[in-house]
């Protein structure tokens, strides 16, 4: 049988061997902890502590600022030092709660939890929402909202995104190897919410050990199935994953729920498991620190708010001076101008490279080769869309479906003329989406 996949995509060097076999190491922060009140899509959380307050580990320091929002918790005990704008990993200045770590890690007493079987759906949803769980793969959509579709009975599949198709990142891989039972536990909790749904673990076939472990663990779970997917970027893109796993195709205007699907990634499901079975909030995650500039690449369980420079220190610092630092994967992550930024709910990795491949090449004229057309998973014509974008022709851009782009970057990756296609298309999308809202 041909492996499940989608059409288009690219095969970059995966670089995963650098950190793949490094077991997860828990790290403790030394300096101040910085908690952005906006680590998710939606309204920023509102601080409920004041400067000078003492906070405990696991204490809520900002509450959800609306329905599409998520609370923020302290990951250490200490004193609130400031509430002020600071840089986040994407380079934006956002309001942050700064906590001075007292090094005692005094923790709150978490409320007692009922066994999963005795919880009502409402209680499960509340536990997830209250814990501040958001999509930890990168988008940061509040999970409670995602798990509350209009018609829960029409959800046929809950898909665990175990593809981890971004090069270099191995955080989810280590999670699946080291604590697959927690991932399955998260799936069990989510399946409780959707009576008619089947749980699918979609894993790229470059992780046969994960596939074997998950299969073994779910062999007595009639509602769960493990699917091997072809290793290809962006296999873990939501639309590509849904198509590969179920054969259903959604466009940019649709939600997974419109196709009867709910998708959550590995780290998110593990955080859901912790919220539901232990009553603990979202306050830490596994972060891969890798790249050829890093001394000892590895996977680290880091508390939110921890300074990223400290995390790089935990990985032995740099062996060569990096020319480029990336928060997230090399295909969709953000380049960073400083490491003085916190680990957030969506920080899947910190990568340091001695050479910037983007700066190495000068963009030249498009030769119309069509490699971007072959690579585009959304079946667009990226080279033309980039032309329209460069000419500020929003009308033609929209007419030729530029808004369907999901900015996976496959086009820029393959372009032999090294044109920054995704950059041009992405900028125009922002303008077009903003103008659409105005209307």
């Amino acid at each position: 049988m041909a492996l499940l996949t989608f059409k288009g995509g690219v095969h970059p060097d995966d670089g995963k061997s650098l950190a793949k076999d490094k077991a997860i190491v828990s790290v403790q922060p030394k300096g101040d902890l910085v908690y952005p009140v906006s680590q998710h899509i939606g309204a920023p959380a509102s601080p409920i502590v004041a400067v000078g307050d003492r906070v405990l580990k696991g204490q809520k320091i900002a509450e959800a600022g609306g329905f599409v929002s998520a609370p923020v918790y302290a990951s250490v005990s200490g004193t609130v030092k400031a509430i002020e704008p600071r840089f986040n990993p994407t380079g934006a200045k956002v309001n942050c709660i700064v906590v001075e770590n007292d090094g005692e890690y005094e923790e709150v007493t978490y409320p007692a939890v009922k066994p999963l079987d005795e919880m009502t759906k409402e209680e499960i949803l509340n536990a997830i929402g209250e814990a501040g769980v958001v999509g930890m793969g990168g988008a940061g959509f509040p999970t409670r909202v995602k798990l509350s579709p209009k018609e829960p009975d029409k959800i046929d599949y809950v898909i665990a995104n175990c593809a981890e198709c971004e090069p270099y990142i191995t955080a989810d891989y280590r999670r699946m190897i080291e604590s697959p039972e927690k991932l399955v536990g998260g799936m069990r909790a989510v399946l409780r919410l959707f009576d008619n749904a089947k749980g699918i673990f979609g894993v790229e076939d470059n992780k046969p050990d994960c596939i074997a472990k998950l299969k073994e663990l779910t062999k007595d779970e009639p509602r769960m199935e493990v699917l091997a997917l072809k290793t290809k970027y962006p296999q873990g893109g939501e639309r590509q994953l849904i198509y590969a796993a179920t054969g259903r195709a959604i466009n940019s205007a649709m939600l997974p729920a419109d196709a009867g699907c709910v998708v959550d990634n590995v780290e998110t499901l593990i955080t859901i498991n912790r919220a539901v079975t232990e009553g603990k909030p979202s306050m830490e995650r596994v972060v891969t620190v890798s790249g050829n500039a890093v001394n000892a690449p590895g996977n680290f369980k880091a508390p939110f708010g921890m300074n990223q420079a400290e995390l790089v220190e935990a990985a032995g610092g740099f062996k060569t001076e990096p020319e480029k630092m990336i928060s997230g994967g090399p295909m969709m992550g953000f380049s960073m101008f400083t490491l003085d930024v916190p680990v957030t709910k969506t920080s899947s990795s910190i990568l340091g490279f001695t050479k910037d491949e983007v700066a190495e090449y000068e963009p030249t004229a498009c030769i119309n080769c069509g490699r971007c057309v072959d690579a585009c998973p959304s079946r667009l014509i990226p080279s033309r869309l980039a032309d329209y974008a460069e000419h500020h022709d929003e009308e033609t851009f929209t007419k030729h479906e530029g808004l369907e782009c999901m900015e996976c970057g496959s086009c820029s990756y393959v372009c032999p003329a090294k044109r920054p296609l995704k950059q041009a298309i992405g900028s125009m999308r922002k303008i077009a989406l903003a103008n659409r809202k105005k209307k």
């Binding site: 970059p12 969709m332 080279s383």
Partner: protein, 317 residues
């Protein structure tokens, strides 16, 4: 060890494939070498002089123009080499070398650079140049001397209803332009390009199949002695003239062919029909060059009607 002011910033993705436009053009140039080598073997020294003349003047024209216009010199992307080499392969070895040089100047200057340079030309520069020379110097461009004697090409014999030797057409020991005669040498280059992922079968495949079907049906109307789908007749048409060189190396030119997948199929069919029409019912025995440049002009229209539907909006999954 981290000096933050040295960190580079850019929009994602932060990695790039190793393939560059220059690599691709170089591969095309390499793929043309078997045909060029056979041409030199077949037509001796004049062929070599012609190939050097067209290639050198194409590169030189691009260099001088870009220097003169204060533009970035792009001769290291090998596209001028490919244009010059292709034009040379499309010239009769018996034509004077300066004619080839003139063609290269026309192709690079008028067809390519004046329309904006690489990627902006609306027709294949080598073919534009060839057609310019065909019109300007019809006599010398259509006289083919082989083994010291001037004689008709197999295609001309075929049109006149005379027998041809398909084996020598396959190998290439026949009169014709420098690079078009050996089907085998051309196919070797084409296989290389397919294996390297530079071209695929969409355009050349549909072109050749459509053309074969067209002559299979209409050959009879041009010459009543030929039956429908006469295999020998079709083979002779496929091995004769410029269709192989045209289908594999000129119709596949990225810049002047449709970027849409469906459009490439439409383009291939159009090429096959036009070539068939020109060859069977046109004034001359050959029609590949005109078929390709006419189709080049229709590419924007073809693309407009073959835009793909996006994923999730009824498009191909």
């Amino acid at each position: 060890m981290l000096s933050e002011n040295k960190l580079k910033m850019s929009s994602s993705p932060h990695i790039r494939s190793k393939t560059t436009s220059g690599n691709i053009m170089l591969m095309v140039a390499v793929a043309l070498l078997p045909a060029a080598a056979f041409g030199v073997y077949n037509f001796k020294l004049p062929a070599l002089i012609m190939l050097i003349s067209t290639t050198a003047s194409a590169v030189l024209t691009e260099y001088i123009y870009q220097k003169f216009m204060h533009k970035k010199v792009t001769i290291n992307d090998f596209s001028a080499v490919v244009t010059g080499l292709l034009l040379g392969l499309n010239m009769p070895a018996s034509a004077p070398w300066w004619m080839g040089a003139l063609g290269s100047v026309f192709g690079i200057l008028i067809v390519k650079q004046l329309f904006g340079g690489l990627g902006q030309n609306f027709m294949n520069p080598a073919l534009g140049a060839r057609c310019f020379l065909l019109i300007s110097f019809t006599g010398q461009m259509t006289t083919f001397i082989y083994d010291g004697v001037s004689g008709p090409t197999p295609l001309a014999l075929l049109k006149g209803g005379e027998p041809v030797d398909t084996m020598s057409m396959l190998i290439g020991t026949i009169p014709g332009t420098i690079g078009e005669t050996s089907v085998i040498a051309i196919i070797i280059g084409a296989i290389f390009l397919i294996l390297m992922g530079v071209i695929d079968l969409r355009i050349p495949g549909t072109y050749i199949v459509t053309f074969a079907v067209f002559v299979g049906i209409f050959g009879h109307f041009q010459n009543p002695d030929i039956g429908f789908f006469d295999p020998q007749y079709i083979t002779a048409h496929l091995c004769g003239g410029g269709i192989m060189l045209g289908a594999w190396f000129m119709a596949t030119d990225y810049v002047t062919s449709p970027i849409t997948k469906k459009g490439q199929l439409v383009y291939g069919v159009l090429l096959g029909v036009l070539t068939g029409l020109f060859r069977l019912f046109g004034g001359s025995a050959e029609g590949v060059s005109y078929a390709i440049i006419i189709s080049n002009l229709l590419v924007p229209l073809i693309e407009r009607v073959t835009l793909p539907k996006p994923f999730g909006k009824g498009g191909e999954k």
